[in-house]
Symmetry: D2
Subunit: 418 residues, 4 copies
């Protein structure tokens, strides 16, 4: 097993600085790290972490290491690695296999290399490690106590596997923790997606018609932040209940075939494939901008766009101009990969603080309970969720109301009437 596959170990110092900066904005994870240092609950456990290699992830890795775990870190997306962070971690002796801009072959080589650590726990952001283990490395399954999955897209995949009886070890859907999903997916994705688009384009949001595909937690966040910057938001959604909520929140709702005609900026965040496709490109306005904040780069049908185009120009960093045969121009950001990670820094540390606090506690939970669990997708235990929320409020210096005895009794009684 190699020590690391990274871009340049010389970037370590810059990485350390940035990791330290984010550490200061992740107080919950630090509290857990301090506890882990004392209790060493992960002693003797090997963890493969296939996550976005960012400053916030570095703090999760430090926490797991403080708990006694051996770790191999690999990227969960070829474009999201921060090379200075990879260097910083490698220079501390952590096994890191991630280079920003690696191609698909290299991407899987890195995961393969990481698996040589022989994991007891797998951490995923998109389920790629689990999928690879189940398809090509079944020999590892016997030692694995369980896994954690960080993102909606991965949870969808794993639920499909479990439904097919194909899942061979238990997985905690960290994504579904309330202190993860409602905060990281909404406030984190919302802010960082707008940030990524600004970095790539510097366009003014005010006055633009902004089409958001998907009104889950991520979509709600993006819609709210886009409106918060003066955009006029249109929602495209397939579920009636969510579509109705978008209407009541004051947004226009319509199918993509209609939205495609009026949008200045399109953002996909559905977890599904080909959300923007040939029939939509064909009716877009000249100079429409298209990007994605969903996990995989499949939400925009880039092959279809390429086929419609007479030429493709790299017009600036992270902006490709597709010149259609009728001379309309469509701008694609970050090659359709997660624009918040490719063009900005991903989620702010304050939300990753909660998400990764859930991760760290979930790893401990798997280590302690994994062998007693079924090969299913589990929710994060509610006590973990509550503990994270309380730690966060404490770290922010916010005191909340407490129930009096009378109030607690009232909530549990049923004899008192009108």
């Amino acid at each position: 097993m190699r020590d690391y596959i990274i871009k340049d170990i010389g970037l370590a110092e810059a990485g350390e600085q940035r990791i330290e900066w984010s550490r200061r904005h992740m107080p919950v994870l630090q509290k857990i790290r301090e506890q882990f240092e004392k209790e060493r609950p992960l002693e003797g456990i090997n963890v493969v972490a296939c996550l976005h290699v960012t400053v916030e992830t570095a703090n999760l890795i430090h926490t797991l290491k403080a708990g006694g775990a051996g770790i191999a870190l690999t990227a969960s997306n070829p474009l999201s690695t921060q090379d200075d962070v990879a260097a910083a971690l490698a220079s501390e002796g952590i096994k890191v296999f991630a280079i920003r801009g690696e191609n698909e072959e290299q991407y899987y080589e890195c995961i393969e290399e990481a698996l040589k650590i022989k994991p007891h726990v797998t951490l995923d952001d998109g389920a790629d490690t689990i999928a690879l283990i189940h398809s090509k490395h079944q020999e590892l399954i016997g030692d694995i106590k369980g896994g954690c999955e960080e993102t909606t897209t991965g949870v969808i995949r794993l639920r499909a596997m479990a439904a097919d009886g194909a899942l061979k070890y238990p997985v905690i859907a960290v994504n579904d923790a309330e202190t993860k999903m409602m905060f990281d997916n909404r406030y984190g994705t919302g802010q960082s997606t707008v940030h990524g688009i600004m970095n790539a384009t510097n366009i003014l949001f005010a006055g633009k018609t902004i089409v958001v595909a998907g009104y889950g937690w991520c979509g709600r966040g993006i819609a709210s932040r886009s409106r918060g910057f003066g955009g006029n938001v249109v929602i495209v959604e397939v579920e009636p209940r969510k579509a109705l909520e978008a209407v009541m929140d004051g947004f226009r709702v319509m199918p993509m075939t209609e939205a495609a005609k009026i949008g200045d900026l399109f953002i996909t965040v559905t977890g599904d494939i080909s959300v923007i496709r040939k029939e939509h490109f064909q009716v877009m306005k000249d100079q429409a901008i298209v990007c994605n904040s969903g996990h995989f780069n499949v939400e925009i049908d880039i092959p279809a766009l390429t086929e419609l185009s007479s030429q493709v120009n790299q017009i600036k960093n992270d902006v490709q101009e597709y010149v259609l045969k009728d001379n309309r121009r469509i701008y694609l950001l970050a090659e359709g990969r997660l624009v918040n990670l490719a063009s900005a820094f991903g989620h702010p540390p304050e939300v990753m603080d909660m998400s990764f606090a859930n991760q760290a506690l979930a790893v401990r939970y798997i280590n302690e309970k994994g062998k007693s669990l079924e090969n299913q997708v589990y929710r994060v235990p509610v006590e973990i969720d509550n503990r994270v929320a309380k730690l966060k409020l404490g770290a922010m210096g916010i005191e909340i109301e407490t129930l009096t005895e009378e109030q607690d009794r009232y909530l549990h009684s049923w004899t008192l009437g009108t």
Copy 2:
């Protein structure tokens, strides 16, 4: 059994006009009514409905009657009855027992009278009928197939009963349907509470410090609408996860002891007792305004306020001035009862349309399946929820996106990777 106990049958025409007006804004319920007229699924069934007697409720009653049910309607709150609506329904031959401003004794007499219909199904908004049947009219239980409960407070009571093994027939928590809770509780309570306060006081919301106790769906709605009118909102909440969400939504969060000192206007909507009490009144600013939008008038500790006061003046309709011994004045709206029903018209018909569509379909479900259910609190079946959402979007003329075959397949597959 009497035909009706109402204020004045002469108000019928005014009531009919207003019922017709709301009917035009309840298209989903009308669709169901048309179907019920054809299929008569409630033939032979008697229903006791203990609900706020409003124009929207009248449309639910019409729908149930169209389905073949016999109905006795009684009020779920002594202050929320619209006397013209009671008159209109009575003049159509429906048994109605409700007078605005009835005292507590009359309130229970009305429920007693309604129970004489010998119900097969009970509809509640606050669980008063169920509580009365379980405590004083167990003889009716044998014929009852099940009940429906409309509001959070009632569901809390019923869950407590079920947990104690005290619930003797199954109940559908209509409140918990997504198309009820997320819409009626949020958008309905939000708008109508602000409306009620404006009617009672005509105060300007802009620039006021507005303290909202409770950040459930109702509290979120009130906070959002108060901010939408320029208020500076402070949230008081006991659950860490909800408190954290309020912080991230940009509100200040603090215990009531702190909030009490700075609020210009206080709104309780927690489902709990004594949320604003002696220790809070003692530190409020002169001319603070206090009101409630939770189901029962127990959230504000009015006896404690009275005890602190040297006099109480009815300063105008729905506004009582409590002059404290130190001469500070505290204004209590609508005697601490639901301000949105007491001082305005309750939820707008567009949201009651969905809530009562769930009710109507839940009554049918109980009639068909009740005897096969346990004596537990059940959620509304998801098909009912989806059907209501789809009907609503259709009625609003809104078309949503549909999955392509490829997209549907992708969502259920797990072999496709990065």
Copy 3:
């Protein structure tokens, strides 16, 4: 001269209660009243006030009276009079000529009666008194020192008069004071218009397409509050700069011919005539709701609507149903008069506090300086504006930043560079 023309003197007590309630929310005006009581700056002066006869106006009248003025009050709109307020003022001995629902003939009779007081100062809300004096009572002009005008529509009329050389005495455009226009027109009209519509219809704003015609201060307020309640707002505006601002604020902007096809609710607030007319009614959706918050009931072309209709039904209080010949129904609120005054209570006292503080100080200013002014429309002197703002902040208990000596010097220097 008669003592009063009002609906019913028996309503006085109810009016007094409500006037007292609003007085408590008008602290700036009270400060001025206390000063006027001491200094009696209006001794010997007669004032004709042609204003909406509301609780807030009553407090202005009390302030002017405290200053020593003789007063005759008449309504500035046939539908906006609060009869209990008229009664309360009459019972105090103030000359009041106003009945809610008076017809046009009575309306002008009332103004005629009021003019018998032989005014030295005229107060208008819509310039009707000034117009009448200039057209039919030039004999009064000799004694008049000047006038005040409260609303945008009136200022437009008066500027047109002044431009034609037709204005025969100076007028202060109280409307244009920053502490009036930016607050009363925006926050006051915004909130009270939504309030009026809710009272008339109880419709849910969330999810509605709401067309606001006019993006001046009033229009901005209505748009902001409608969005704050979940509406999807479309702006119709004729000035490019304002239209562009609406776009940047995240609203859709289009001509009325387009907006007419998609609106659920239409609100006019332009100060112009026939903003919604035949060609617009012809393309509206069934059950569209149409109302006005501009000063005169000319913004909606009601004769054109009547002509298109086969019948008109008073469907409920303040709602008329126009059944068009093709069976579409259009609902007109409050006969096209100011919906915030006709269906709610007009602006909240907190904003009228500032507007009327400007009025009171402007009357004093005219009394002291009127004869030295030209026959032009003047802005409120900036010292009055500043004084009102400071008094208001003080009354709200808000402390603001103050410049240090160094900062003050810096702002007036120009030699300091980069």
Copy 4:
């Protein structure tokens, strides 16, 4: 006179790409450029432009050049120069004197070099050229027809000069054009300031207490965008009227001494000096973040901060950590210079499009009318303002309402009454 003083001519291609990208988002300026190419209205005129050297400025320079002007460009801020843009312009033969990070001596050397072109018109963003000409280069004044000033801070300085009789040629306050001030200052500064802070820190705005000093157009924009991202905004303001507006907009308002205790993030944008100073640093929370978006880096008293500190660490790019003697840490962004230009790209091109369209047309106006103007500060002629607004709406494809003849007549008449 040298050809250029820039960082690296090799950066030209990257600069050209980015200039072209912004050009596509500046349609109004392009329309004017096309007209200038035909009419050559600036033939024979030399212009010194002391502006932020950004992609948007490059498009202004191209427009002026198309009009026939000779141009020397220099930076208006030592940290805002985009070196690739300077290179691109230099490689086209335009005289450019600007290097990002130049010290104060170099800064003034660059302006001196630019003045060698012997200008007929000066363009400023902060009035530095005008100040230098008036203090050290009075010999140039004879040939100068006039100047343009782009920013609030500069206009304040120039008004002070004019009031002292010290201004020796007329200046157009381009800043005060409605299509500049209300758009660029509000939407541009609002978005780009948040963008700069995100780039420097990646902090989450949601849940933070954000103190904005100054509630002019820039401050309003920053407050609105910070709230739009979930921040809880506190306003510090010295003018009562603006402070009151902030209150009514739902913000808390207080003096800096109070705000300093509770802020997580501070943003100054007042145009004044020492807005955050010793007494404020002394009470700030540990890890407070301080930055500036006002023109000069004097709003934060950095010398005072330095004096209070035991060490200063460059913690990452654009973030300096000041460790106070009591161990609290205060983070200063971008050395207190304009954070939107230092850490992001300045205003988006869509708003600079309008600002620079005003600039280009103002230069033409000065050339044609300058010698007939007094040595005063003038507003942009309203026709220019209107023309810019119309061109912008046209470019965005937005059609607005037009007055009918009847409506136009009504607005100018005064005989029509109630």
